[in-house]
């Protein structure tokens, strides 16, 4: 399935090999601990199952000065 992933510094399409947020994060080499994650505008936990064309937004925990 294809997932659109957006964050402060990037926007990319990922062909996901697994089917959860956790697997997506592992695939793009990011730690879920460092982000608050939304799927199609709703906050989700790592174990959320994804479907084709989902839009994932990553909000970095560390920001500012």
């Amino acid at each position: 399935m294809k997932i659109l992933v957006e964050s402060r510094d990037f926007k990319t399409r990922v062909v996901l090999k697994g089917n959860t947020v956790k697997e997506l994060m592992r695939q793009i080499n990011l730690s879920p601990e460092n982000f608050v994650i939304s799927r199609n505008g709703e906050i989700v936990l790592e174990d959320e199952r994804l479907v084709d064309k989902d839009k994932i937004r990553l909000f970095p925990v560390i920001s500012g000065g």
Binding site: S38, L45, F59, I62, G64, G65
Partner: protein, 297 residues
């Protein structure tokens, strides 16, 4: 995954509480924690006029939002240190937020007040330390000019525990004595006490609260943050928290128990000196703020 308190969908897992919470229960817990911190340390009073230091990031806008809904008398104050690509990007977020919630907003720039910017300082490795002195000093002066009797900042649990360990590791106990929920070891007519209502809120939860409440903030990182010693401490603390949930809360709570002893021990025996240049409290003849201005201004 469901909320531990009802059947709604969980948006956060709080390992230190052993709970998963939905958006509503999380928001209630978060707000209760902030009200509790304000009340237990007697940070604020409804008669206070509060200058809220606002950078446009998640912490300061969440603080501004909460103090607004709690109906405190607030004025947003931004110090523009002159960091290109950082401060200029954050100003539109503050302008928009203050207009939306009808909060008065004042902005003061280092360039206008003293003729230099932080970008012009050559010693990049000490930037965070210079910036801290300048921002605190200017915020204090301007808050006083605005008739405020308190300054509130958006420091979160992560900021606080990092600060505690940094000062411990550097042997700066006297400096630690001046921190805490309400700063300062002595009362002085020129010093405006600084309070930190979000000091019991983990940084991650500030992000979550901001997103859930549609608070539009800037998440641009300060370009000088990479030089900070703080990053090493942050990483260490996050590893500890992951392995032993609740570590950060434990550090803060135990530090708070030590504050009265530290303050008593480091309470100045004599009245503080006055800075020869600005008249504010000083350790020697010149205060840190004027010393820094003198170096670069």
């Amino acid at each position: 995954m469901k909320c531990s308190r009802d059947n709604r969908k969980a948006v956060v897992e709080l390992t230190y509480l052993g709970e998963r919470l939905c958006a509503e229960h999380f928001s209630r817990l978060f707000e209760k924690r902030v009200r509790g911190a304000i009340a237990s340390s007697r940070m604020l009073d409804k008669r206070d006029k509060i200058a809220v230091g606002v950078s446009g990031g998640k912490d300061s806008l969440v603080l501004l939002y909460l103090l607004r809904i709690m109906r405190y008398n607030i004025v947003a104050v931004t110090i523009d240190e002159g960091i290109k690509g950082y401060r200029d990007k954050s100003l539109p977020y503050i302008r928009k937020f203050c207009a939306k919630y009808k909060i008065p907003w004042k902005i003061y720039s280092l360039k206008k007040e003293y003729g230099f910017t932080l970008d012009s300082i050559p010693d990049k490795k000490r930037m965070c330390s210079y910036c801290g002195v300048l921002r605190r000093g200017l915020l204090n002066k301007k808050a006083r000019e605005l008739g405020c009797n308190k300054v509130a900042t958006g420091h979160n649990l992560d900021d606080e525990t990092q600060m505690i360990l940094m000062n411990l590791f550097r042997g700066e106990l006297e400096r630690l004595a001046r921190t805490g929920p309400v700063t300062g070891t002595i009362r002085d007519e020129l010093f405006i006490p600084r309070v930190k209502p979000l000091r019991e809120c983990p940084e991650r939860e500030n992000v979550l609260y901001a997103v859930l409440h549609k608070i539009d903030y800037t998440d641009t990182e300060c370009p000088y943050a990479r030089y900070a010693y703080r990053n090493i401490i942050r990483e260490m603390l996050n590893q500890m928290e992951e392995k032993y949930p609740g570590t950060k809360f434990a550090i803060l709570k135990n530090f708070d128990k030590m504050i009265p002893f530290l303050r008593e021990y480091y309470m100045p025996k004599e009245k503080p000196n006055r800075c020869r240049k600005c008249g504010e409290m000083a350790r020697g003849n010149i205060c840190k703020f004027c010393e820094t201005i003198g170096k670069f201004g």
